[in-house]
Subunit: 301 residues, 2 copies
Amino acid sequence: MTIDLETLFEATARAVEARLDAALGVRPHDGERERPPRLVEAMRHAALGGGKRLRPLLMIETAKAFGRTDQGVVTAAGALECVHCYSLVHDDLPAMDDDDMRRGRPTVHKAFDEATAILTGDALLTIAFDLIANEDVHANAGTRLTLSRDLARAAGLGGMAGGQMLDLESENRERSEDEIRMLQSMKTGALIRYATRTGALLADAKPEDVARMTRFGELIGLAFQLADDLLDVESDTATLGKTAGKDIEAGKATLVALKGADWTRDAVKDLVREADGLLSTLGEDGARLSAIAHFVAERRA
Amino acid sequence: MTIDLETLFEATARAVEARLDAALGVRPHDGERERPPRLVEAMRHAALGGGKRLRPLLMIETAKAFGRTDQGVVTAAGALECVHCYSLVHDDLPAMDDDDMRRGRPTVHKAFDEATAILTGDALLTIAFDLIANEDVHANAGTRLTLSRDLARAAGLGGMAGGQMLDLESENRERSEDEIRMLQSMKTGALIRYATRTGALLADAKPEDVARMTRFGELIGLAFQLADDLLDVESDTATLGKTAGKDIEAGKATLVALKGADWTRDAVKDLVREADGLLSTLGEDGARLSAIAHFVAERRA
């Protein structure tokens, strides 16, 4: 069985972009007044400017593995992607990581201005909770509410935002291996875990399958972060589409810095091996998820 | 009938602070990893540092007027207050209104730093969607989901965040009366309208009562903003607990600047008169809501 991963990524990205394109129009939703064109434009710059759409792909492929393939899954994936894009906009701000480029284009505060970038992140985060509540996401309102609350917990002070806080505090400060793992499981792990867990919940998978796919997300979240840390030391700015070597320069705590590149490459392999083991009963769907896990671990940009 | 408004404000503020104190502890919720102490501390600085708790009071008193008084109403009010506090933290940032003082204390970016303030606002906004999903808010998960989605719409690009965008764009640029009204109905009106509307929904009020209390919130939202604009030109920094005269200095579009203080005072009176007219059937509860409306319109700080 061969998996054409490139085509899969492209098709998913197109579906997610189309959903975000519709959500980020100028026409207000019920209960909204008007949508300021400048803010809409900046949100679209942040959310529609390419990107691999890895988290949406993981959610959509996990839902597919448990039998659900309709458009509502794309809506939920779009909500998650809005949270991811908000985090990029705020992380790029001068007071945070101070990045001028993202996905080969100027960051929002460069293309617009800082105040607009702050509001753009705020509004992308906020609209995620509008999207995840959409009727097509799941027939049961209680399930939609659970997905909304879980998204808040994955994104907030005990998840992604908290991880970014720990990361900022790590600059030029020693961190133990355990501390770095906790930081990474929050900063990048929480949303990736949310992606696969939510995929299973959207398809009404059995509790043991939800637990298994939650663990799968956790493992590839860790692998993703380690691969990212490796890329930061091994790649260059042109290939990355963002500034290379920034983490090292900022004195940020990474496992690559603590344990070395060889150790890290081995750790990534172990994570992917464990992740693969969770997919054995899923047939062709499992093979696709496995291919994504390998892509995450072995990517070069 | 005399209403002791001061005691009412104080009792509500205490109840809301207690709820926020519990929500903003270091112990993680299910699905969260750990809560970084520095971020918790900054969120507590932003959310527990006093404030009138006007929006929670409006929600709680509206729910009471339609027969609901339990703790779940305070949870929903706490969610709304988190959104309000997040907006203050981000609005105070150097790239936005650049304020050093808030409620007589240093703003978050002054007491901590800019990156922490950005994350603090992000995490306060996010936790609102955890709180509003809490079981005690309403027995019906579908109602909780509606309240969550409505909160996103009131807070986001077609509500408060969009209003702040329009406000920033107004600096040193002419705005018509209609444009200023739209801006204000989004920037401050949307959350106040959400407060009274949600109060009615929490109590399962009849649709015509929900519509009436939505309109009530709209009217006092407008009155609140006009009173705020009057205060900016008539008060001083010590009384306000924030910098006075900033709007004028920034060349911001207000109706006071466009139509004058006398016209604005008359407009506030008209708004409160119409708001009062909506409360005629609500007896003592209506009298309390009326007293709050008059307080909003006539406050001197």
